[in-house]
């Protein structure tokens, strides 16, 4: 991808700038779709209709909402720490956006083919905590601060089970690169990690139940990492007004909003890459069948986005199913249940891979 762009433009700096901006081309339509899905799924789960006015079945609702947000006054309270207050949404979004650098959308397009992709993803997604904490602190509002503190506690503790699960996958694949992980699960869907990986043998069948456990653990902890219900303690609207984003309005709020949805896809994409073959098609490619080679990467983008959005939909579905947990329950779930299970799972998977 870089080479093609470089050959086209001839300037490396511009090439990198364009490559860096490419995920935005995905994020903006995706966020529109996700917000629409969120509202529609919510409505239909509650036996309502949801937005119906703007466009066909309310499909242009988010454009209307966005225009409203743009027009809004940018309110900054007197006692805010203005520098940090203005920086926080940008930092939050930057953290969410940086994760897209290592997501392999297809075999032809990876923002950065870093060999330590998973490591980078885990590390950079913690930048969101800094942004949220910054926003909560600089708002000078008790609700914001409470939300931010909860968020920090939650994200830091839930990173442990998710990292333990990632570690067990890394143990099997032997690589930290997300693209390589995806490539290892090529072929049909039974080659996916959730079905024990590509190698046929005893280990594959032994791995399947533990892979399911690992998947459940990382999915639960990824929900907590992106502050989704039932773990939406940081912005628990019935307790904390809107948590860390209470004091924000207009475009700055939109940034937090965008970051939240971008993050949702990032963790869904990580789950997809780790367990569901990443950009690999479950049934082989039409492009290979017809002998059109350039079609394959496009198909891969399609499969990657479809799988990712499917998990986003499951997140939305869970949000409208489960009530919010209490703070102590949240911590108990992480430290008393997920981490021990993840650890045991890690050890068992390690032993199996040794066979």
């Amino acid at each position: 991808m870089h080479e093609i762009l470089n050959n086209l433009i001839g300037n490396e700096i511009i090439t990198f700038l364009i490559a860096a901006a490419l995920p935005l081309v995905f994020i903006v339509p995706y966020v529109m779709l996700a917000v629409y899905l969120e509202r529609k799924v919510a409505a239909h789960i509650q036996d309502r209709l949801g937005p119906m006015r703007v466009g066909w079945h309310g499909s242009l609702q988010l454009i209307a909402d966005f225009l409203k947000l743009v027009q809004k006054e940018d309110i900054i309270a007197d006692n805010n720490d203005k520098k940090l207050f203005n920086l926080a949404p940008i930092l939050t979004f930057a953290g969410a956006y940086a994760a897209y650098a290592v997501l392999p959308f297809s075999s032809a397009y990876i923002g950065s083919g870093a060999e330590v992709g998973v490591f980078f993803l885990v590390a950079i997604s913690s930048l969101v905590v800094a942004g949220i904490l910054m926003g909560g602190w600089s708002s000078n509002n008790k609700y914001s601060l409470l939300g931010a503190m909860r968020s920090a506690a939650q994200i830091v503790s839930y990173e442990i089970p998710s990292v333990l699960v990632i570690l067990s996958i890394v143990m099997i694949t032997g690589t930290l690169s997300l693209a390589e992980m995806s490539d290892m699960q090529t072929g049909y869907f039974w080659n996916w990690m959730i079905f024990g990986g590509a190698e046929i043998g005893l280990t594959k069948f032994l791995l399947i139940p533990f892979m399911f456990i690992a998947f459940i653990i990382i999915y639960i902890s990824s929900l907590a990492e992106v502050n989704r219900t039932p773990f939406d303690m940081p912005e628990a609207e019935s307790e904390l007004v809107a948590g860390y984003s209470t004091e924000y309005s207009g475009m700055k709020f939109a940034m937090f909003f965008l970051a939240e949805y971008a993050n949702m896809f990032a963790v869904s994409a990580l789950v997809t890459i780790l367990f569901f073959g990443g950009y690999q098609s479950p049934f082989g490619y039409v492009g290979n069948l017809l002998g059109i080679e350039w079609l394959v990467p496009i198909e891969q983008v399609f499969w990657f986005c479809t799988k990712g959005i499917l998990f986003v939909v499951v997140q939305i579905w869970l949000r409208w199913t489960l009530p919010r947990v209490r703070v102590d329950q949240l911590m108990a779930l992480c430290w008393k249940y997920l981490i021990p299970y993840a650890l045991v799972n890690l050890i068992i998977i390690g032993i199996i891979t040794l066979i």
């Binding site: 036996d47 409208w320 779930l333």
Partner: protein, 204 residues
């Protein structure tokens, strides 16, 4: 350990059950309607905005008296005997000009008590319930069909008639009095035979 595993299982299982329930609800028919486009059919005896058919109103004030919140205001003027107001649809003769018939829907409590006493069934409930206004004054509905000019005319007609009647009455009384006086005077004249003109003037 047993409770620990049981908790784990219950946590996962109950989440799964909940998800199945919400998934089913995703495909059930919505219970809400697209209100301004689609409206629920109102029950047969719904009570909403009142309507007065002024062709049938005889100005009997029964509805005004029945109203518990006094939101109906009616003023009537008697018609001249020469004027023909026509009949109501159920054959009652109209004899009053209804110069003012207003209902203040800001006060109205939609109790329907005004509907029952109406002898001509001209005040009734409609199915209109969307009549919100920005100004409270706009909720005062005027049902009287007469223009202010006509009202003034009717009023002056009535006053004129009244005045004429009074004048007539006065004249009649005066005539009566004069007659009576003349008679008494005659008697006096007959009795005393002494015409005292200033005295009679005083009496008049």
């Amino acid at each position: 350990m047993k409770t620990y595993l049981k908790n784990t299982w219950e946590g996962l299982y109950t989440v799964f059950v909940g998800m199945v329930i919400t998934f089913k609800h995703m495909f059930t028919r919505s219970v809400t309607i697209q209100y301004p486009d689609v409206k629920i059919k109102l029950p047969e005896r719904e009570r909403n905005r009142l309507y007065v058919n002024m062709d049938d109103c005889i100005g009997c004030l029964q509805c005004e008296r029945a109203c518990p919140v006094e939101c109906i205001e009616i003023e009537t003027v008697k018609s001249l005997p020469t004027e023909e107001l026509g009949q109501t649809s159920n054959g009652k003769k109209k004899s009053l000009w209804v110069t003012k018939f207003t209902i203040d829907f800001a006060k109205c409590c939609y109790c329907q008590l005004c509907v029952f006493p109406c002898p001509t069934e001209c005040i009734k409930m409609t199915d209109i319930y969307e009549f919100s206004e920005f100004e409270r004054e706009n909720l005062i509905y005027n049902f009287a069909t007469l223009t202010s000019k006509e009202v003034n005319e009717k009023k002056s007609n009535f006053e004129k008639m009244q005045a004429e009647k009074e004048a007539e009455k006065a004249a009649a009384e005066a005539a009566k009095a004069q007659k009576a006086k003349a008679e008494t005077e005659e008697k006096e004249v007959n009795n005393q035979e002494s015409p005292e003109t200033p005295g009679t003037e005083k009496k008049e």
